[in-house]
Amino acid sequence: MIALLKRDLRLALRAGGGFGLGLAFFLIVVVLVPFGVGPEREVLRPIAPGILWVGALLAALLSLDRIFALDFEDGSLALLATSPLPLEAAGLVKASAHWITTGLPLTLAAPFFGFLLLMQPEAYGYLLVSLLIGTPALSMIGTFGAALTVGLRRGGLLLSLLVLPLYVPTLIFGAEAVRRGAAGLDASGALILQAGITAGCFAILPFATAAVLRINLR
């Protein structure tokens, strides 16, 4: 398991796309928003949590189709299926690798992008925590979606259509937690519910992912 994780991380680093691309995309989204809505503090401040969450979500979406595609093409996915490591664990590892290469950097970078959007100072902590809790769920759901579309030649667009509706609960609770934090309200309810969703995703989706992979490898 650890070896697979290390291998995936190494591959993502070497290909270069994983880390840089997602972050750059996130930055571009954040930079474009003020052009769209205007630079005033009163406009930017209330929408900053939502923009940051939506941006993180889209950035995470960007690299999803690479989770399984290469392994499927060169046959190492079939090899994984026959190895003693259960496919459920392989799915979990893939999701973790995706999170370490995209979710974690996004989380760490988000507060800096918050400056750009003139976010409420009280909200930074909540932003960090909610992204930290929420992005693993994004990776796990995305891994499931990637497994669904792995056999398809042009699965990219379909993948977004399948995965984005599944992101709704995570997004709602995440952005809500930050918004409440920014308004000085109690955000613990939203954070707890979000943690519940993430835990649920990790409890159920590795099995669904493995089932889907077995079907696609048939």
Partner: protein, 242 residues
């Protein structure tokens, strides 16, 4: 003979052939009676005026939009557990019908909301849930269309439907958390305390029966289409090998 025998494709084709015209006829009768009754012969509500007549379309279509998804979920589960091909095809056949029901519910809701709430659209929990449901339908249909091999497609869409159902329920509660709504409570429930008045109630029941029957008829017809399409594929594949 167990009930599963009815799911044998050949038997399914034979019993649906005789049942299909009846369901369509009955659905048509119910819809015409219910809608004409509702449109021409019911009084206006004292607060909502004549817009109350939209209920005869809005409530049944919203009901069927959700029930269609539940039916797809049940059919997917049957496919996963018992591997009845008809079941998988029925789930596929139901999805576009569900999309149309969702669209009708959204459209009539928007048209009703404009004079009543003063807005076409509000990010109200119920409305938002329906929009999300619509997206789920689109993803489901797109996945069916994208996959070449029919059994793989049936398997993958079944799993998507099951996982999607979980997330649809989660989303529903999440949007309640996110925004309190404008939408009124349930118009109908079995423990009738707060239901709509009788004048509106009976035509509404007829309309609901009409929508249910129409849904059944459409799903049966579309399933027959899918079975035939499958057979064409199988015959052509055999022809190529020979």
């Amino acid at each position: 003979m167990s009930m599963w025998e009815y799911a044998n494709p050949r038997l399914f084709m034979s019993w649906t052939r005789s049942v299909l015209p009846w369901t369509f006829g009955l659905a048509g009768v119910c819809l015409v009676v219910g809608l004409v009754w509702g449109f021409f012969f019911t009084p206006d509500d004292f607060r909502q005026g004549s817009t109350v007549k939209i209920i005869y379309l809005h409530v049944p279509s919203a009901l069927m939009a959700i029930n269609a998804w539940i039916m797809m979920l049940v059919a997917s589960l049957i496919w996963v557990v018992r591997r009845h091909h008809v079941s998988a095809l029925a789930a596929r056949a139901a999805a576009p019908v569900g999309v149309v029901m969702t669209l009708i519910a959204l459209w009539t809701g928007a048209v009703w909301g404009q004079p009543m709430w003063g807005t076409w659209w509000a990010w109200d929990p119920r409305l938002t849930s329906f929009l999300i449901l619509f997206l789920f339908y689109l993803g489901y249909i797109a996945l069916w269309e994208a996959i070449e091999d029919p059994d793989t497609a049936a398997d993958l869409t079944a799993i998507l439907c099951i996982v999607g159902s979980i997330f649809a329920i989660l989303s529903r509660y999440a949007v309640f958390f996110w925004n309190q709504g404008l939408h009124q409570g349930a118009s109908l429930s079995l423990d009738a305390e707060k239901n709509v008045a009788d004048v509106f109630y009976y035509p509404l029941l007829v309309c609901i029966a009409g929508f249910v029957l129409l849904f059944v008829a459409l799903v049966l017809m579309r399933t027959r289409t899918e079975i035939r399409a499958r057979r064409i594929k199988a015959l052509q594949a055999r022809g190529q090998h020979a």
